[in-house]
Symmetry: C2
Subunit: 212 residues, 2 copies
């Protein structure tokens, strides 16, 4: 496999892209997966949509053009990190199929794996959860361009994994994703255990926003 | 040294920030240094100002606020890379001291080295060189906010290295910078030679722009 030649064990980057509506559980799942991957000896960074709005995309809004530009920037940074051996967990609504597919193509051009994970739950469940009170505002017409309410969401046509957070715990989803990576021979846990001296990095970070 | 504990040889990131007027030689020097560092076993990425205008800062202009935002974004990405073991060469006019110092503080908070390199040449020399024809346009008033002509440039107060590209070749400057890194014990060439299996990465990339 070409990748093996370029990326020694424990030093092969990839992009795992979590997409789905607000409140579906992207952030929780990416954090949980991050802990597993870090424990397995991988370098991991989380690029979280809300945080990236502040660090890379201040001034961008939520019309399609700005959302696509935001996804493009996240993709650019994810590629830079992944080609340097980092497992990048992107957690972003990223509602448009085209822009996600553009990132996938760019990552794969670098001969790096791109794994798309769709996280969903019935809209009634999301409206019921509503941890940030955003659905309430969107339904009251106080937020425009709100994905799933007043803005479209395009599901991936063939995601690597589909998670329904209304019927599965974060722990269960994490285990399924780790198992998926293992089956796809994308995990580095076994190999990393043979190299305990490898650098272990972790993740942290900031907050968000503005309008088209 | 704290850094040694966290970053194994050949896997310690840092940021080398080339600042100076347009045409001073930032891009040429960063490319030359990149070759040396890559040959020494380092992972290297170049974040070039012109290219970053397209990949991270599309829509930003050249007023102070936008220039500072551009530098902030470059700094954010440089930190992400550096803390994952990449030597990041930033080549950007970055005319304002405050914004460069903000990045330095953020990088140093991560316990990573930040080396500022000032590249300069007499303004008459730059006007004479003018490879992109930009000085001509700026002097004719066709470009506003042009650093060094119609916009300020604030030199670093204590740069790690000062390069005068009118009196020194790119090769000489490269040798001086490598020697500086060695003296500061920031180079990893000797150590990297003990670890030939380390991943070697390189750099490539895009183009620019818009207005305040």
């Amino acid at each position: 496999m070409a990748l093996e030649k370029k990326y020694p064990a424990g030093d092969r980057g990839m992009v795992i892209w979590f997409t789905g509506l607000s409140g579906a559980g992207k952030t929780a799942l990416s954090r949980s997966v991050s802990l597993q991957l870090t424990a397995g000896g991988n370098k991991v960074e989380i690029l979280d949509g809300d945080e990236v709005r502040e660090s890379l995309s201040r001034g961008l809004g939520f019309c399609r053009e700005d959302r696509d530009e935001n996804v493009r920037r996240i993709g650019f940074v994810a590629r830079l990190l992944a080609r340097n051996g980092v497992v990048v967990l992107v957690s972003a609504i990223s509602p448009y199929r085209q822009s996600r597919d553009d990132v996938r193509r760019a990552v794969e051009r670098d001969e790096l794996p791109f794994v798309e994970v769709l996280i969903r739950a019935p809209i009634e469940v999301l409206i019921e959860r509503d941890p940030k009170g955003l659905y309430k505002k969107a339904l009251a017409g106080e937020i425009r361009n709100f994905t799933g309410i007043s803005d479209p969401y395009e599901e991936p046509e063939s995601p690597g994994l589909v998670v329904d957070s209304s019927s599965e715990s974060v722990g269960e989803s994490t285990a399924r994703l780790m198992s998926f990576l293992r089956r796809a021979e994308l995990d580095q846990i076994e190999r990393a255990q043979d190299h305990p001296e490898q650098a272990i990095e972790s993740a942290d970070r900031q907050s968000m926003q503005e309008g088209c």
